[in-house]
Symmetry: D2
Subunit: 425 residues, 4 copies
C-alpha cells in the first residue's frame, strides 16, 4: 500500500483516510476493496450517500447506456431529457402519492449548497434575516450553512463571526428536562427576548452528526404547528436522514407534516454522484431566474441515477426490506450490545443507529472500538458530541448476512476494548 | 418539444433554459443536440466547464473502463487509487514543470466550495477576518463566496449582510484613470483608512463574469508584490480562466507569479463532472483534519476524467492548438466585428473573448444578438455589467470550421440586429 | 402652557413629554413644578437619576461654591482636584468597606457609554467576541449596548443586525419552570451547541425596564459561580438599580458577589448631571491610554456632586431611611393594592416596586392608570413587556408623607380605572 | 502635586493627563490653573468643547441664576422652560437666518450618541444598512460611531467586527491624485462594484482628528450634489468644526449646502457641559416616540448655557473676532513657522490650524514639541495619522495677547526641538 503520495501532496485536511487507512479501488454493494485485496464491510455508506450500495447494477446499467449514447453530461440549468425524466419520476413516485405540491430547485452539487439556497429563499420570502437552528444540528461547511451548524470546531474554522442564526434547544439530555417547543414559543412571543422572529427554522428529524438524537413524532408535529402559528417557514434538512434511511422516503413521513422546504442530497442520485435539490411549496417559489446559480447545478449523470434509483426503490420493495433489517439491528443492539454495560445507550430508527459511549469511557473508548472494527474488516464512523457515538449506517441494500457479521464485529470489538481498558463487560 | 414539466415543477430560479429554449439530449465536442434533432454550435462550453468538449472520446474510454471494473464511485476523502493517480499526474504534468510546490485540497464538488475553503484557510493562516476582492469579481453564490462577489443582484439574494470583504477597484473603465495598486497600498498603509489589513486578496486575472476585463501582466505582478510587501495572501480564482482557457494551464502563467492559493474547478475533470480543488503553498497547509469537509469532496469519476484530461492536454498538444484558434478569434473580431461600429469594443486572451455593446445599445442590443445567434444555431452567453458583453468561449477542442461558422453567425446576428434597431453598420 | 414650540421644532422622538404633558420649570426633592404653578409628586425620579431628589440642598451648596470659584468645568481626562476628591471619597466610603479592589474608568457622560466600554473591555480581556445578555435586559441605545438590550422595538430602531450577543433566559414567568443557570451551563459545555463561550455575561440584579423582575440571591450567586467556573467575566449593570436604590449602595450587595465589572451612572452624580463610570477588578485594567475616549468623560461638576452625595448618604443615614420607606411600600402594595384584584402582581425590593397588570387588562389598563395618576398630580412610569407594569421609584429622599400620598393616588387611580373598564375591584 | 491617587485607582485608559501632567483646579477663558498655582495657556479648548472659553462670565451669570431658583436639573425629554427657551433662541439666531427648516433631536449627552442617532435615523429613512464614511474620519467610540471612524487602533478596541460602513477616499495626499467624487459616483453606479447604495454619507468638512484635512468648498458642494443625485442622505458631523470654530456657526456655511442631518455637540452648551443634538430636515423626522432614548438626553443646565452662548455670539460679535484671530494665526504660521523648514506644512481655517511634521521627523518630533510647549506653559494637542500634526485650537474668545504668546511658544519649541534633533532650522 502506497500512501506516500497523499502524505506528500494532499492537504492535512483529509480526514476519513486517517481512520480507514487503506487505499481503496473497487466496491460492490456493502463491500469495499482495498488495492491490496482486502475487503471491508461498509457500515458507513459514504456518510449516507450510498443507501443503494456501491455500484448498484440496476442503476449502473442505465448510466452506462447514457454514457454510450453520448448523452449530454453537463448542461447547467438548461433543459435536458435526463432532467425531465427525473422530475417526472420523482413527482409520480414520491410527491404525488403523498399529495405534496412541491416545486424542485436543482442546486450546486453539494448538500451545503442546498442549505445555502434554502436559507436565502427563506430570508427572501419572509424578509427577515434570522434563522433558528438547533443545538447539535449539522447543515454544512460553507459560510451560510456553517452558521446553522452547531459544532464549535467547525464554526471556528470559519475565522469570522457567523451571524443571523440563533440556536434553540433540541430535545436531548438536559434539554429534555423542560418543554423545548414551549421555550421557543416563549422566546418568539416575548417582545423583550432580544431574539427577533426568524424567517425559518431549519431542523433534522434525527440529528445524525449530532449523535443519533431522535425527535419524537409529537415534537416534530408541535414544531410544525409552532411555525405555522408564528408565520415562520419550516425547513427539513433531510440530506442524511432522507432517501429511505429511516424506513420511509422522507424521514418526516412518520410525523405526517409538510415542511415548507425540504433538502435532499447524498443518496438521491442512487450512485454516490454529487447532486442536491430543494423542494419548496409552490407558493414559495419566488426566485428570480439565476438568483442562486452555480456551474454544477444539474448533474446529468446524477439525474439518470436518481431516476433509476426511484425505480429500484419500488421494484425491489426496499421499504419492506429496510423494516426487516431495522428490526434485526434493534434487536441485536438491545439484546447483545445494551446488555454489555449498564451505562451504554443505543438509539435509532430505520437503518441508522447509534451506540453511545459518552458515559462508558467516552471518546477514547469509542475511538478504540471503531479502530478495532476496522482491523476486523468493518468500516464504521463515530459521531456526536466528542465523537462518542458509534454510528451504524450500512447501505439499505446490505445483505442480511453481512449485516449480521458487521454487528458481531462491533460486539467483539466492544468486548475486547472494554476488557483492555478494565471496564466490566 | 415538451417543456411543460419544467414550467410546472422546476423552480423559477432556472435560468439558462430561458435563453436556450430547447430540450437537449446529446452532445459531442462543440455541438449540442436537442431532442428534436437540431444541433447547436457551443460557444458557451458549460460556462467554462467543457474546455475539452462534450464527451471527449479520449477521456470517455477511461471512464467507461472504470465503471466497468466497479471502481469505487464515492469515497469522501478516503484514499483511493483514482485519487492517487490524479495527484501523481497533476504533480508531474502541471506543478513540477513550473517548480510549484503546492499541496492539494479536494473540496466539495463546486467551485464556490473551493472559494469558501480558500477564504477560511486564509483567515486561519493570518488570523484576520478581512478579505479584499475586486469590483466586478465573481466567486460564487454561497454566503462566504458571495461576500466576495460584486454583482449587486446576486448579493441581494443573500437576504443578509455580507461582511468581512472590502472591494477594491479593478483596472476597468474609470478605475483605469488612476493607479489602482497604489490606491490599495495607500489604503493598507494609512492607519486611519478604516480598512484593516486583510488576510488575503482574491482576484481573477480575467474577470469573465465581470465582462472580460483583463488585468495586464504588469498589474498582476504588482498585485503579487503588494501582497508580499504587506504580508497578505494572494488567492487566484482560476476556476473559469484556468485549465488552459487562456492558452496556458494557469491563467497567471503569463505573469510568472506564484499565488499563495489557487482555485480550480469547472474544466478540471475534463468531462463536466463536479469537482473542485484548492492548491496551497506547502507552508500554508495548516488545516486540521476534517476542518473543511463535505460528502462530495473527492468525486472519483472526476479524478479519472481529470487525470485523462491532463494526458489529452499533452498528447494532443492542446496549448499550440489554442494559440492558433486564439489568433483566429482575435483577427476575426478585430477585422470583421470591431469594424462594424466605432463604439464597439472587443477584448480577450486565449480562447475567451468579449464583444462589448455597452456603448452601442447596451443590454437590449446584446440580448437581441444572443437570441438571434441561438436562432442561427449558436449557443452564446452574455456577461458583464448589465449583460452587455457577448462572451465567446467555445471548447478549446472545437473544430476550426465550427469556430469559423460560429464567428460568422455572430457577425450576421450583429448586422441584423443593428439594422433592425437603426444603428449604423 | 405653550408647547407649540416643541411640536414645531422638537423631533417626534420625544417621549416622556407625551405622558407628562406639562412644561416644567422648577423642582425640589420629590416635587416637580410646572410653569403654570402646578406641583407633581415624583415617583419617577428621572428614570433613576434622582435618588437624592431634585436640587438637594446639601449637594447644591458644594456645587455653587465650585461654580463661584471658577473651578474647571471641562477637562476631559486630565487630572483635576474635583476628580481626585471624588475618587478618594468613593474609595473610602464605598469600595474599602466592602473590600473591593476596583479601578475606576470615567466614561462618556451616559450610561450606554459605560456599557459600551464594558463590552469592549471584556472582549479585549478574553479575546472573544460574544456576550451573553438576558431576555428582558436593558442596557442602552448605542449600537453595542443595544445589541445587549432585549426590547425588539428598540432593536429594530438600529436598522442593522446586532450581532455578537446571545440572549439567555432570565428567571421570569415560563423561564422559571426550569433551571436557567443549568441551561446556561449546558449551552456552554456542549461542544455542538452552536454558541461559543462569551467574553462576559452582562446582567441586572433587577430588570427594571424589563418589568421589575428580581433575581433571587441564590440565582445571582450561582450565576457568579458559573462565570468563574467557565472563565467568563461577570458584568453587573447597576446603572438603574445601584446607588442605593435597593437599600444598599450596590444592588448586588445582597448576594455578596464581586462582579468583574460594575457599571454606574444615573444617580451617581447626586444631582442628575450626566456621568457614568465603570469599576473593574484591578487585574482587568488592560486598557491602552485613550483606547476608549470621548469629550465628556469626566464631568467636573458631576464629580463635585458625586462626592457630596456620598457624604449625604452617610450623614443622613440614607440606608436606614430607605429600609423604612421600603417597608411602607411593601406593606401598602400588599395590603392595599394586591387585594384589589386576584390577578394583580406586585414585586419589588428597596425602593423600586412594580404593580403588574399583565393579567388584568394589560397595557391599556396600565396606560389609563398612569394617565389618571398624572391627572391626580403624580408622575409615574410604566415598564415591562408591553408597558404593563407600573413602576414605583420615587427619590430615596422623598418625605414619608408624599410617599403615602403618592401611593394613595395610585390606589384611587386603579379603582377608578378598573371600575370604568368593568373590572371587579 | 499628588497624582498617586490616579495611578492607584483610575484606569490606565486615562490619556490626556499623561501629556499634561498637572492637577488642575481652576480655569478662566483661555487659561487653566494647576493646584500648584501654575497657569497654562489653552490651545486645546477641551478638544473643541470650550469655544467660549472657560467659565465665561456672561454665560455663568445665567447658570447661577438657574441654580439659585432650583430650576429643574434633570428631566429626560419632558417639556421644560429651559429647553423651550433654547429651541426658540437656536431657531431665531441660527436656523431662520439661514432659511433652514430643521427639527431638533436632543441626544444622550455625548457627541457619539448623536452620531449613533443619525446613523439609526438614516438607516430607518432609507431602509438601507450601509453608510459611507471617509478615510481619516472620526465620529466616536461607541460601536455604531466607531464603525464610521477610520483610526485602526480605535477600531481594534471594539473587539468585534464593525460592519455596515464603507470607507471612501477623502481628498488627502495620494487620494488627491484622482477625482474622489467621481470615484464614489462610479462605485455607486456600477452594478458589480460589490458595494450597495448606502443610506447616508457621513462627513466632516474638516477632518480635525484626521490631521486638519480641509475639504474644498467645491468638493463639499459636489458631495452634496452626488448625494441628491443618488438618493443618499448627507450627514455633516459638525461636532468639532461647528459652533463657530471655522468662522461661521456651521462649518458648512462656506459651501452653502444644506445637509440632511447635522450633528452638534462639544461647544454647543457654551460652558463645557455634556450635550449633543441632531438637526434633521423636517421630512426626515420619522422617529417613533422613544425610539432613540437615554437618561441624559436633555441636560437642562446645558440648555441654559447654550441659549446664553448664542446671545454671547451675537452681542460680542464673535464672528468678526474669529476672523481677526484667524488672520493672525494664518500669518504667523505662514511667516514664522512655515519658513522654519521646507518640509513643514501648515493648514487651517478659522481658528483651527495644524502644523504637519509628517515629513519632518514625524511623531517623535511632534511629541517632543508638544511636550516642550507644555513645559513653556502651553496646552496643545497632536492629531492626524500617527499624531504628527500639532493642532492649534484655542477658545475663540482667547485674548489676542495670549494667542500671540501661545504662537511664540510653539515657534520656540519647534526651534529648540529641531536643533536638539539635528534638523536644520
Amino acid at each position: 500500500m502506497t500512501t506516500d503520495i497523499f502524505d506528500l501532496y494532499e492537504s492535512n485536511v483529509r480526514s476519513y483516510c486517517r481512520s480507514f487507512n487503506a487505499v481503496f479501488n473497487k466496491a460492490k454493494n456493502a463491500v469495499i476493496y482495498s488495492e491490496e485485496g482486502r475487503d471491508y464491510i461498509d457500515f458507513f455508506a459514504g456518510a449516507g450517500a450510498l443507501n443503494y450500495g456501491h455500484n448498484n447494477d440496476f442503476i449502473k446499467e442505465k448510466i452506462l447506456s447514457y454514457f454510450n449514447s453520448d448523452g449530454i453530461m453537463h448542461g447547467l440549468d438548461m433543459y435536458t431529457v435526463a432532467k425531465r425524466d427525473f422530475i417526472n419520476k420523482f413527482n409520480e413516485s414520491i410527491l404525488k402519492p403523498r399529495g405534496l405540491d412541491y416545486k424542485i430547485q436543482f442546486c450546486g452539487a453539494t448538500g451545503t449548497n442546498a442549505v445555502e439556497a434554502a436559507l436565502k429563499l427563506a430570508r427572501k420570502i419572509k424578509r427577515r434575516a434570522g434563522i433558528f437552528s438547533f443545538m447539535g444540528g449539522f447543515h454544512g461547511m460553507t459560510l451560510g450553512s456553517l452558521a446553522a451548524t452547531g459544532n464549535i470546531q467547525n464554526r471556528l474554522g470559519a475565522g469570522v463571526q457567523l451571524p443571523n442564526v440563533t440556536f434553540m434547544p433540541y430535545p436531548y439530555k438536559f434539554m429534555k428536562s423542560f418543554d423545548t417547543i414551549d421555550y421557543i414559543d416563549n422566546v418568539l412571543n416575548d417582545a423583550n427576548s432580544g431574539i427577533e422572529k426568524p424567517a425559518a427554522i431549519i431542523f433534522e428529524t434525527i440529528q445524525c452528526e449530532g449523535g443519533i438524537n431522535i425527535a419524537s413524532t409529537d415534537w416534530i408535529r408541535r414544531l410544525s404547528d409552532l411555525c405555522k402559528r408564528n408565520d415562520i417557514l419550516l425547513i427539513c434538512d433531510d440530506i442524511q436522514a432522507g432517501c429511505g434511511r429511516t424506513g420511509t422516503f422522507f424521514s418526516f413521513d412518520r410525523a405526517e407534516i409538510v415542511p415548507d422546504i425540504v433538502l435532499l442530497s447524498k443518496s438521491i442520485s442512487g450512485y454516490g454522484f454529487p447532486m442536491s435539490l430543494l423542494l419548496m411549496k409552490r407558493e414559495h417559489d419566488i426566485w428570480q431566474p439565476g438568483e442562486h446559480n452555480g456551474t454544477f447545478r444539474g448533474n446529468q449523470l446524477a439525474f439518470i441515477g436518481a431516476q433509476r434509483a426511484l425505480e429500484y426503490w419500488e421494484e425491489f420493495n426496499l421499504q419492506k426490506d429496510v423494516q426487516e433489517k431495522s428490526d434485526f439491528i434493534k434487536n441485536y443492539l438491545t439484546n447483545e450490545i445494551l446488555t454489555l454495560h449498564n451505562l451504554l445507550d443505543v438509539r435509532g430508527i430505520g437503518m441508522v443507529w447509534g451506540i453511545d459511549f459518552s458515559d462508558v469511557g467516552g471518546a477514547e473508548i469509542s475511538k478504540q472500538i471503531a479502530r478495532r472494527c476496522f482491523e476486523f474488516g468493518l468500516i464504521i464512523e463515530r459521531v456526536g458530541r466528542n465523537d462518542t457515538v458509534l454510528k451504524i449506517m450500512p447501505p439499505l441494500t446490505i445483505e442480511m448476512e453481512l449485516l449480521q457479521t458487521g454487528c458481531r464485529i462491533i460486539k467483539q470489538a466492544i468486548i475486547d476494548v472494554f476488557k483492555e481498558n478494565g471496564l466490566n463487560v
